[in-house]
Symmetry: C2
Amino acid sequence: MSKQLIFGHQNPDTDAIVAAMAFSYLENKLGKETEAVALGEPNDETKFVLDHFNAKAPRVITSAAAEVSQVMLVDHNEAQQSVADIKDVQVVAVVDHHRIANFETANPLFYRAEPVGCTSTILTKLYHENDVVIPKQLAGLMLSAIISDTLLLKSPTTTDDDRQAVKELAKLAGVDENQYGLEMLRAGTNVDDKSASE
Amino acid sequence: MSKQLIFGHQNPDTDAIVAAMAFSYLENKLGKETEAVALGEPNDETKFVLDHFNAKAPRVITSAAAEVSQVMLVDHNEAQQSVADIKDVQVVAVVDHHRIANFETANPLFYRAEPVGCTSTILTKLYHENDVVIPKQLAGLMLSAIISDTLLLKSPTTTDDDRQAVKELAKLAGVDENQYGLEMLRAGTNVDDKSASE
Ligand SMILES: [Mn+2]
Ligand SMILES: [Mn+2]
Ligand SMILES: [Mn+2]
Ligand SMILES: [Mn+2]
């Protein structure tokens, strides 16, 4: 089997970047050869997150078909939010928590969507179902994605699954979710930068 | 929460009928109030199956919006294969093993697709994930759906997941999958009817 790329949406947020990394790690553990990439540079919040857990940002691509014939999508499904040449590759898997629209395949595929607050919450469940242990660093990244998407479990999209995943991932990552979460959300709002330029 | 209807595609095959019954039983065990219905009468094979396991055919509907505002789809997703007024109801869940096309939602939903031979194989996994025991009668019906869709595990769409589900369901149902399977497939081809009319 040839390599498959995994990526989130354009103008990536923390979940788009992290879910690609988390799904790629899982798929590779299960025998696939995948690479997590991104459709844009990490934003300030995501930079803080990657930095905090000593992780490298996935490389940025502008074309998928130039490299592979099959891809997996995370944190989106709509064609206009995806890579520019999405029509020229086969989507073999999707893990997402958004509505389905402008999405069509020629063949059966793996599609996992749940109406929860964050893709990384669904991925936490997929790790359990496949009996794969989430490494400490990745747990920290996935925790950050859920904190980001649910605004520290305060958004109306937050579900019990998100709350349970946060508890578990914080333990695996060895961080206090509330203290770290506030710090992380603050990093995304660039309070310091804004004050400086004001 | 108000009642939700669950149904498979028009001109239902055994999987379309049985997957609705199996998903409804699971959802109700998990606290929902759902009813399995069908978009047509069972075919000869499905009649044999229902008869063999003493199960009643789901009632046939021609409109969903007349009864409910939310529905769940099994064994299909394309609008033209669904109930005539699918556009007038909200699809809150899909369990399917086909390509995705002509399908769009306004809101996030539960969507579970895998590239396996039969919807009932995916449902077998969902029962496990939710720690719900498959009753003996339902196991016999789900076994029949997999035998039907995969032609007794001989079709090119057959996967290891289908093989594993058949083994498990046959044990739960207390039948020999090969002997019963041949009998069932024969019932669907109506060998006797055809000879008589020839
Ligand atoms: Mn996102
Ligand atoms: Mn997200
Ligand atoms: Mn079918
Ligand atoms: Mn089917």
